[in-house]
Symmetry: C2
Subunit: 530 residues, 2 copies
C-alpha cells in the first residue's frame, strides 16, 4: 500500500468516525441538507466567533480577571454585551422557554420601580442597619391593608423601632446618606434580590453557600411580587420582555406553596384560582397585542407548571396535588405539569414523597386529567447522593422532562432512556455556573448530553437573580464554548424547545411552523451580514 | 392494586434500574461476591468518610476558604493529610502507576538537596533579582565541566554579572538576606519548580495561564535532573518512594527530546541508550533490595514510555521514532510504548504527525518489534478543538491507552470503543484540577467514565510540581467525592492499573496474584480498625 493510499484511507476512516460519533446529535434531525443561505450564515457566525475569541476575549481588564469565552457570567457579562455574536443571538427566534421560575423573571430594578408606585408597600428590618451589615441585613417587604399603613419616616433614623413597618417610599427617600441616600436604598434592595460576582466567586463559592444567598433573594422579592395589583403587571412585563428576546412560548413554574396572595386590599386572601385567572387574562391581552401588531408568530402563549417546595411533608403534598388537580380541571389549558422545587442537596428527595406521587397518578385517572411530572432532578455535583439519585425516581415516575439533570451524564442507562423515550433536559447553563455546579461553560456537561442524543432545551431558570434576562445570554455561553456548535445547533435547540413542550400535537405543529418562518428570516439576516 | 403492592413494585423497579445503570462499572468484574471482611471493611471506610465529611471538612479555616471533600488540592492538602481516610489509603496496595512523567517524580525539595551535593552544579539568572521579580526571575541550572567551574560568590551581590554561572552552593550560601538568605534561596528555587495555590487559583486561573507556569517548572528542574550522577539517584528515590506508597509497577514517560544528558564530566554527551542502561540498573537494584527485604510483591519493576514533545516537525519526529525502535530492539523489556507530550491546546495535534505515525507501524513490522502508542489525548476543555479531536486520531492510530482523555466523555462512540476494545484512560484527578480542567473533584468526569465501563487507571502525572507524591492523594480525591465509590471501587481501580499495563500475560498474571495477596492483607487491616 502506498503511503498516499494509506493516508487517504486514514482520512476517510477518520471522517467516518467523527460523523458516527456525532450522529446522535439532534440537530441532524431538523434538516437533512442545509440551504446555501444556511451554509453562508453558519460560516459568518463561526468567523465572527473566532474573530471575537482572538480579539475582545483576549483583552485583559483590571476588573475582569482572566477573560475567555464562556467564562464566569457575572464577571464576563460586560464583555458579552459588547460582542457582535451577542447582538446576532439577541435577534434569534428562540422557541419556548421551558424552565423559568415566575418569582425571578422580571429585572429586579424594574420590580423595585413597580413596587414604588404602590403606597401599600412597606418595608422593615430586624436589626439596626450599619455599613458593615448592609449586605446581610435584608429588607422585608409587605403590602399592608390600609388600616395598618404607618407614617414611619425612616429605617435608618436612630428613632427607628426595629421591626416596625415603614412605607417603602419614605424608607427610600429618607435612607441615610451614610448608606448612600435613596440610591443607596435601591442598591441595598437590589443587592438583596440578586447575586453579585463577589458572592458567587468569593464569599459564597460552593454550592451550599451560594444556595443560601440564592434562597434569600426569593425571600426578599416574595413580598413585592405576591401583591395582586403588581402581580398582573409583573407577568405582563415578563411576557413582553421574553417576546422581545425572541421567546414565543413559555411554561413557567409557579410556586404555589403560599396558599393566598395579598390582594389589593392588603389582605392575604387571593386564592390560587385567582392567580390563574390573572395569568390567563394577561397572556390573552399580550397575545391580542401581538396579533394587532401583526406579530402573531411572536407569542403563542404561556402555561404554568404547578410547583411546591420539597421541604413539606408527604401529607402536605397531598393537599397541593389535589389543589393542582382542581386547577387543572378548571383551567385545562393552563396547567402544564407538576414539579417539586428547592435545593436538592439540602431538601427532601423524591423518594420521600413516593406515596403521594404514586397516588397522584391514580387520582388523575379518577378525575380524568393528565398532569405530567416535570421534575427537577440531578441539580447536583453529588455522585450517588440523594440529589443524584432523584434522577432514577424522576424517570421511574414518568417525568416528561428533567429540570437541570446536571448529573444525568453520569448515568448511561438514564441517558439512553432519555434519548429513546424523548425525555428532554431543561439545561440552565448560567444558573448552573452561578450556583457553582460548573466553574465556567467549557466545563459544563452539555456537549456530552448533546452528543448522546439527549433532547435539550436551553433555559434561564431565575434571570432576575442571575442577570441573564431572556435566553440570549444562555445561548451565548453555549455557542462560544464549543467549536462543534454552529447555526444548525442553535436552530435544533430552539426547535426542540417547542418539540418537548407540553403543547398538544396540533399546537406544536402550528408553533413549529411559525418558528420555521421566523428562522428563515433570521438565517437571511445573518447571511446578509458581512 | 393496593398501595403497598404498588409501593413494593416501585421499589423493586427502582433497585433494578440503579443496578442496571451501574452494571458497566468495572469493579463488578473483579469479584462476584464480597467476603464478610470486605463488606465490613467497606462499611468502616464509608462510615469514616461520612464522619470526616461532617467534622474535619466542615471546619472553617482562615487560610482555607470553603473546605469540602474533593476541594482544590493545593489548599485542601493540609486538611487531607490530617484525615483517617488518608492514612488508610496511604497503606493501600495501588498496583501500577501508568501515567507519570519522569521529570516530575521526585519531591522538589529533595531534588534541590541532591543537587547541592554536586560541586558541578551552577546557577545563573538573566536579570537582577528584586523582591518584586523573585517569583518570575527563574534560576537556570547546569552541571558544568570542571574547566568551566567558576568561583563567583553570589547571584545577589551588586557585583554579579548577569548571565554568569555561580556555583550552586555559593549562590545559596550568599543569597541576600533581603531575599531570605539561604532559606530564601531554597524557597525561590522550590517556587520555580512547583505550582502554588496563589498561582493555580489566582494569578494563573485558566488552562492557558497555568500551563505557562507549569511548563516553566520543567525548564527549571531540567538542568538539575539531566546530570548523569544525579539521574541514577533520582530514579532510585522515585522508585523507592513509589513503593512506600503502595505502587508495585511503573510505566514512566521519559522525555527524550534532548538527545544527550550531561555526563559526570559536565559534558552533554550521554546518549539515550545510556539513560536506559541506568534505568535498568537502578530498577534491578531496587527489585533486588525488595527481594532481600522479603517484599518481592512490593515491586515488580518499571518500564519506559518513549516520549517527545508535540512541537517538533514531522521530519524531526521520524528521527525519534527510529531512535525509539533502536532502543526497543536493544532493550525490549524496557520500552513499553510511544507518546507525544506537551500542552495539547497550544501545540501540534496528532493529525499533524499522521504520516510519520502511520509509517511507524510499517517500520515496526520491518524491524519485528511491537511498540504500542500510549497517546495523551483530550486533555482539554475544548469541544471540537484540535485537542479534543486528538481523541479520534489516538483511537484510530490504535492507542493502547489514553493519557488523560478528559474530554472523552463527550464522545459516545469513543466511549463505546474504549469500553469494548479495553482502551484504558489514565485519569489524573489532581493534575486536571491544578491545570484548571476542573475546579474540584466533584466536577470531574471520572464517575461518568466509570459508569460507562471505560477502564481507568488513576495516575499522578507530575507530582513534584503538584505536590501529590505517590498515588494516595489522587485516590483520596476520588474516594471522598463519590458516594458510589467504595472499597471494591478502590480495588477495581488498582487491579485495572495492572490489567491495562503493557506487561505480557504471564507477567500480568503474576503481578495480579501478588497484588491480590496484598489486597487481602489490606482488607483485613481495614476490617480490624474501629
Amino acid at each position: 500500500m502506498s503511503s498516499t493510499t494509506a493516508l487517504s484511507g486514514y482520512r476517510d476512516k477518520r471522517a467516518a468516525l467523527i460523523l458516527r460519533d456525532r450522529s446522535l446529535r439532534r440537530e441532524n434531525l431538523r434538516v437533512k441538507a442545509l440551504t446555501l443561505n444556511e451554509i453562508k450564515a453558519d460560516e459568518i457566525l463561526r468567523r465572527i466567533r473566532a474573530d471575537e475569541e482572538a480579539t475582545i476575549w483576549k483583552e485583559e481588564h483590571p476588573s475582569i480577571p482572566h477573560p475567555f469565552p464562556g467564562m464566569e457570567f457575572l464577571t464576563g457579562k460586560s464583555i458579552i454585551v459588547r460582542t457582535k455574536i451577542f447582538e446576532i443571538l439577541s435577534k434569534m427566534p428562540k422557541g419556548a422557554l421551558l424552565h423559568a421560575h415566575l418569582d425571578a423573571m422580571v429585572n429586579a430594578e424594574f420590580l423595585l420601580k413597580l413596587a414604588l408606585k404602590y403606597p401599600a408597600f412597606h418595608v422593615r428590618i430586624h436589626q439596626p442597619l450599619t455599613v458593615a451589615n448592609l449586605p446581610t441585613n435584608l429588607p422585608e417587604f409587605r403590602a399592608l391593608s390600609e388600616d395598618l399603613f404607618t407614617h414611619s419616616a425612616s429605617l435608618t433614623d436612630s428613632g427607628y423601632a426595629i421591626g416596625t413597618w415603614v412605607p417603602i417610599r419614605n424608607a427610600r427617600q429618607s435612607f441615610n446618606a451614610e448608606f448612600g441616600g435613596p440610591e443607596g436604598f435601591d442598591r441595598w434592595v437590589l443587592a438583596a434580590m440578586t447575586i453579585n460576582p463577589a458572592e458567587a466567586y468569593g464569599t459564597h463559592k460552593t454550592v451550599a453557600k451560594i444556595w443560601q444567598k440564592f434562597a434569600s433573594t426569593f425571600i426578599t422579592s416574595d413580598g413585592l411580587i405576591h401583591f395582586q395589583p403588581l402581580f398582573a403587571e409583573y407577568m405582563r412585563v415578563f411576557f413582553l420582555t421574553a417576546i422581545e428576546d425572541g421567546i414565543s412560548y413559555i411554561e413557567t413554574r409557579i410556586n404555589f406553596l403560599r396558599k393566598f396572595m395579598v390582594g389589593a386590599d392588603g389582605r392575604e386572601n387571593v386564592p390560587h384560582r385567582e392567580w390563574l385567572l390573572m395569568f390567563d387574562r394577561v397572556q390573552s391581552e399580550v397575545k391580542m397585542k401581538m396579533k394587532i401588531d401583526g406579530r402573531e408568530d411572536a407569542f403563542i402563549g404561556a402555561k404554568i407548571i404547578y410547583s411546591t417546595i420539597r421541604f413539606i411533608t408527604p401529607e402536605e403534598l397531598e393537599w397541593y396535588l389535589e389543589d393542582c388537580i382542581a386547577l387543572k380541571k378548571e383551567f385545562p389549558h393552563l396547567i402544564a405539569g407538576f414539579d417539586l422545587v428547592g435545593d436538592e442537596n439540602a431538601l427532601k428527595p423524591l423518594i420521600y414523597y413516593i406515596e403521594p406521587l404514586l397516588h397522584f397518578r391514580e387520582r388523575q385517572k379518577d378525575e380524568g386529567v393528565d398532569i405530567p411530572f416535570l421534575f427537577h432532578a440531578g441539580e447536583t455535583l453529588g455522585d450517588g447522593t440523594d440529589a443524584d439519585v432523584n434522577l432514577y425516581d424522576a424517570i421511574l415516575l414518568g417525568t416528561k422532562r428533567i429540570g437541570h439533570g446536571f448529573s444525568l451524564i453520569k448515568h448511561p442507562e438514564l441517558v439512553k432512556i432519555c434519548r429513546e423515550r424523548g425525555i428532554a433536559v431543561e439545561v440552565c447553563p448560567i444558573s448552573n455556573e452561578i450556583l457553582r455546579l460548573t466553574s465556567s461553560m467549557p466545563m459544563h456537561p452539555l456537549p456530552a448530553l448533546m452528543n448522546n442524543g439527549v433532547p435539550v432545551a436551553l433555559c434561564s431558570d431565575d434571570p432576575a437573580v442571575f442577570g441573564n434576562m431572556g435566553l440570549t445570554f444562555d445561548y451565548y455561553q453555549v455557542f462560544v464554548s464549543s467549536e462543534v456548535c454552529g447555526l444548525s445547533t442553535l436552530g435544533g435547540l430552539a426547535r426542540d424547545s417547542i418539540e418537548f413542550s407540553t403543547l398538544n400535537n396540533e399546537e406544536k405543529r402550528q408553533a413549529i411552523a411559525g418558528w420555521e418562518r421566523r428562522w428563515r428570516d433570521y438565517v437571511d439576516y445573518i447571511a446578509g451580514l458581512v
